[in-house]
Amino acid sequence: MSVDAAAFQTFREKAGQLRTSAVPAAVPSDVRVDRAKTVFKRRLDAGQATYLETCIHCGMCAEACHFYEATGHGRYTPIYKVDLLRRYYRRELAPMGWLRRLVMRDITAKDLEDWQELVYDSCTQCGRCDMICPMGIHISPMIGIMREALAEAGLQPIEQRALAKEINEQGTLLGIGPGTYQAVAAELRGRGVEVPLDKPRADVMVLMNAMDAAVFKDAIAATARIMNRLGLDWTIRTGAGDAAAFDWTSGDERTHARMTRRIIEDAAAAGAKTVIVPECGHGYAALRWGGANVYGQPLPFEVMAISEFVGREVQAGRLKVKKVAASRSVTYHDPCKVGRWSGVLDEPRQALAAIGIEVREMESHAKTNYCCGGGGGVFLNERAAKLRQGAFRIKMKEADATGAASVVTACGHCRMTFMAGAQQANWPTPIESLVELVAENLAE
C-alpha cells in the first residue's frame, strides 16, 4: 500500500488555487435574503418544525462538537449554527409566528454572511451532536438546509463555487474527468489489474472519484482486484461522473441534482443491480440517502459503500481472505457519512477481523465517532484551516490513546484530512485504506 505523496501535494495545490480562480456571486442583499427564505420555506416540514420547537437551549450539543471542544467558542454550538432557520421558522411558519413577528426581527443579508463561518467552516455535518441532544433534535440535516439556503444566496465557500463552475462548464473536478479515468485504467492494466471501463451492460457499476483518480489509485486497483476475484460482471462508466458530491456538501442543490441524475441514469442504462461507491463518505451518503429523492422514485438498484460491500462479501464467505503475515493492530476511523449517517459500522470491522487485524477502538467510535475535521467540504475550505486542525488534534489524541500502529479508514476525504493534519502536526501514525488492506490479503 502506498500513497503518491507528489500526487497528494499536487491535488492540494490545485485545491488551493480554487480560491484564486473563483468569482464571488454578485447577488443583491435583498435577493440573497429572499432566496434563502425560499429554501427555508420549501425544506421545512412538520418533522423539522418539531425539532425546532423542542429546543430548550441547554447547549449540550456543543459538548459533542469538535469545533467547540477545540476552541471553547460558544458560537460553534451546533444548534446556534441553525439559528437563522429557527428564527425564520419561529417568525414566519410557526403557529405562534403571528405574535412573534411583533417582537422578532427578520433575518438580514448580514445574518446570512455572518452564518457562513458557522455553517461551512465550523461544521462538517458529522452528526455527533445528533447523538447527544436530550430533546432528540436531528441537527445535521438542518445544517444541510442552512447550506442550501446560503448556496442559493450565493454565499457558499469560494472554493466550492469554483468547483461547481468547473463541474457545470467543463465536466471535470480539479481537472479530473473521463480522460483521467481512462488513463488510470490503462495504468492499472499495465500493473496487471483489469479495470473494465464503459461496458454497455453490467450487474455492478463502480463509481469513480477525483481524489482516488489523482491520489489513491491503489484504492481503485484494490477495488478492481476484489471485483475481479469475486468474478462479478462489473464496470466503471466514465460518463457517470464523479461520486464525490462536493456540490452536496456545499448545498448547491441544482448541480448536485444534475450530477446525481447522471449517475442514476447511467447506472439504469447499464442495467446495474448494484452501484458501489468507492471510499468516499459524502458520495455514498448523497447517493444512498439523497439519490431517490432527487430521482423522484426509489432507485432501480442497490447502493453500497465499498467498505459495506467488502464486509458483506467477507462475512458471506464469497470473498476469501487470508490472515496478515505479522500480527498488527490498527484503530478504525468511521467516516461520519458512512458510519453514523449510514449505519456501516460493523462491516469494516468484520473485514479487518477476517484478515486477522486487531482493531483497537478509540474511546469515541462507531456512532459516537469524532469526525476527522475535514468532512462536509471543510477540507477544501482554506478559510477553515485553523479550525480544521484543532478538530483534527482531538481525533489524533483519541487515536494515540489506543496505542494502535496505524489508522484505517474507508473514505478518501478523511484520508486526505488525516494526511494533511499529520503533516502539519508531525504525527507519524500512518493512515490506511480499508479496501486496500483487504485486497492485499485476498486468499490465493
Partner: protein
C-alpha cells in the same frame, strides 16, 4: 374581590384557558404542517420500535458523550423531578387538584417536600447563574430562556414563603398565597409561548430522531 379571590377564581380560569388553547394551537399548528417524503430505501425497518426506544434511552447518552455533560444532565433531570414531586405530592396541593379532578392521592411529608423544594430551587438558581456565565449558554440564550426559568423559580419561591408563613415586608398570609397562585398562573400563561412547550414536543422529537436514524441503520 380580594387578590386571593381573583387568583383563585378568574385569574386561574383565565390562565388555564390561555394554557389550554395556546398548547392546542401550537401543537396542532406544528403537527399539521406537511411532511416531506423520503423515497430512499430504508436499512432498518422497525422504525416504530426504534422511535419508542429513543424516547426512553435518549436520557442515557453513551459514556463518551455523557462525561462532558454530567453536571448539566444530572441537575437537569433532578430539578424536573423535584419540581413535579413538589407540584404533585405536596400535602396542600393534593386537595387543590382534587377539587378539579374529583380524586386525590397520597402525598409526601411536608418536611420532605420542603427539602426537595429547597434542593430544586437551589439547582434552578445555579442553572440560571450558569446560563448567564457559560460561553455556550450566554451565546444561545434568548429572553424566553431567562423568563422561563424565572417563571419556574417563582412558584417554588412563593410557595416556600406562603407555606412557612414568612412575611417579608409584613405581608399577610392571604396575600402571599395569592402571589403564589398568581406566579403559577404566570407560568401557565407563558407556557404555550415559550420553550416550556418542550414538555409536549420532547418525546415526539425523540421518537422522530430514533425512527430517522433507524432508517439508516443506526440506533439513535
Amino acid at each position: 374581590m380580594t387578590l386571593l379571590e381573583f387568583a383563585r377564581g378568574p385569574g386561574l380560569q383565565g390562565a388555564l384557558l390561555i394554557f389550554s388553547l395556546g398548547v392546542a394551537w401550537r401543537l396542532v399548528g406544528t403537527f399539521l404542517l406537511a411532511r416531506n417524503r423520503d423515497l430512499a430505501q430504508p436499512k432498518g425497518t422497525s422504525t416504530v420500535k426504534a422511535g419508542v426506544r429513543a424516547m426512553i434511552i435518549r436520557s442515557i447518552p453513551p459514556h463518551e458523550l455523557e462525561k462532558r455533560i454530567t453536571f448539566q444532565h444530572i441537575t437537569g433531570y433532578a430539578w424536573h423531578l423535584g419540581f413535579f414531586a413538589v407540584l404533585l405530592f405536596f400535602g396542600p396541593h393534593v386537595p387543590f387538584f382534587k377539587q378539579f379532578l374529583g380524586f386525590g392521592w397520597p402525598y409526601l411529608p411536608n418536611t420532605a417536600v420542603m427539602v426537595l423544594g429547597a434542593f430544586t430551587l437551589a439547582i434552578l438558581v445555579a442553572l440560571l447563574v450558569r446560563r448567564m456565565l457559560h460561553p455556550v449558554l450566554k451565546q444561545i440564550s434568548t429572553f424566553d430562556d431567562y423568563l422561563s426559568v424565572v417563571l419556574v423559580i417563582l412558584p417554588l419561591l412563593t410557595g416556600f414563603l406562603s407555606y412557612s408563613h414568612v412575611q417579608p415586608l409584613d405581608v399577610r398570609y392571604e396575600v402571599l398565597l395569592a402571589v403564589h397562585l398568581l406566579s403559577v398562573e404566570a407560568l401557565l400563561v407563558w407556557f404555550p409561548f415559550g420553550k416550556l412547550m418542550h414538555l409536549f414536543y420532547a418525546f415526539p422529537s425523540r421518537y422522530q430522531v430514533g425512527a430517522a436514524m433507524q432508517r439508516k441503520g443506526v440506533q439513535a
